[in-house]
Symmetry: C2
Subunit: 196 residues, 2 copies
């Protein structure tokens, strides 16, 4: 057995977990989101950058504004999910580096003085943290519905600022009826992994 | 309890898992890598893009070439890890979409006809899959040492082609002596998550 992770955990996080398109009415509490964050915050990022930022869209007014920026096919599920989160990358993450990287506080100036370098680092490492977050949602017994189909500039303008780039919007909740499409195929191992 | 994932699994994947900088001599087999892939391939990507590609650097000659492109601080660990993998994003992933997205095969032409759109999608979704891969390495009871400190153009030229963009290099193996630095702090929940 190459995988030591318990089979039940494998199913919960990967094999049986599915992207949900419908949800029950059961709310998702701030305590649940905090438990998710406090688990997945330990996932690694380069130089411990921690560039991920999360905006929970809690009010009806904010939800309405967000839905108007979603692609048509994403509007109804975003309108009805128990919780919707905007995941973004903080392009000014370097301001926190002296406290996040106490053994090398000068990394802020040595490596991340230039904004384009920071943007590239934030988008890669923010995406890693977004994936950890999706895994964490599943670890909480919830389903995630990550979406990239939205007007990014509009979401940034409405909910973020020039220093924060949207990565994705994630619907979160207990899966409802017919929540998932039939699973689509994945690439075979030998189409993905080669050796030299 | 907001997290339903077993505490042992939480420790294995996040709480006790650490980025390793030294490794034992124990080899990592292709069977282990395949088991990792066959677990984490189920992690979600937009439109089921599956843009991640993995090059296992197996030969001594290839290892030597790779080490020469790593940042100085990454050279010795990359030279001695039991297995080193180059993770890359396939910017021509759309060629596989008709088989990966059988219910919407026209997505290839409707959404991904333009190369810049594909590059942006591949870098985001490839990064998500890289994070799932790191989680999978840990699920296999191994430690990952992901690194972005290398000459990206050099690695691309030596090991990939114009259609594949390096995302990171990952050392893989059983952690050795003093494998991890003391864990650096993470941002607090309220510094990362806000509500509107």
């Amino acid at each position: 057995m190459s995988i030591v992770l318990d089979p039940t955990a494998q199913d919960l996080l990967f094999r049986e977990a599915r992207t949900a398109n419908t949800f029950t009415d059961e709310p998702v509490s701030d305590e649940q989101v905090q438990a998710i964050y406090d688990l997945v915050k330990f996932g690694p990022t380069a130089f411990n950058q921690n560039p991920l930022r999360v905006v929970l869209v809690r009010s009806a007014e904010a939800r309405e504004r967000l839905v108007s920026h979603m692609s048509e096919g994403n509007q109804s599920k975003t309108g009805t999910a128990p919780l919707v989160a905007i995941l973004a990358a903080d392009n000014e993450f370097h301001e926190e580096l002296p406290s996040l990287l106490p053994h090398f506080p000068q990394a802020k100036d040595v490596f991340f003085a230039e904004r384009p370098v920071r943007e590239e680092a934030a988008s890669l490492n923010g995406a890693l943290q977004a994936a950890y977050f999706i895994v964490g949602v599943r670890a909480a017994g919830l389903a995630a519905g990550p979406m990239t189909g939205f007007d990014s500039a509009g979401v940034q303008k409405e909910f973020l600022d020039d220093d924060h780039t949207p990565l994705m919007v994630v619907n979160i909740g207990k899966p409802g009826e017919d929540a998932a499409f039939p699973r689509s195929p994945r690439l075979a191992y030998h189409d993905v992994v080669t050796s030299v």
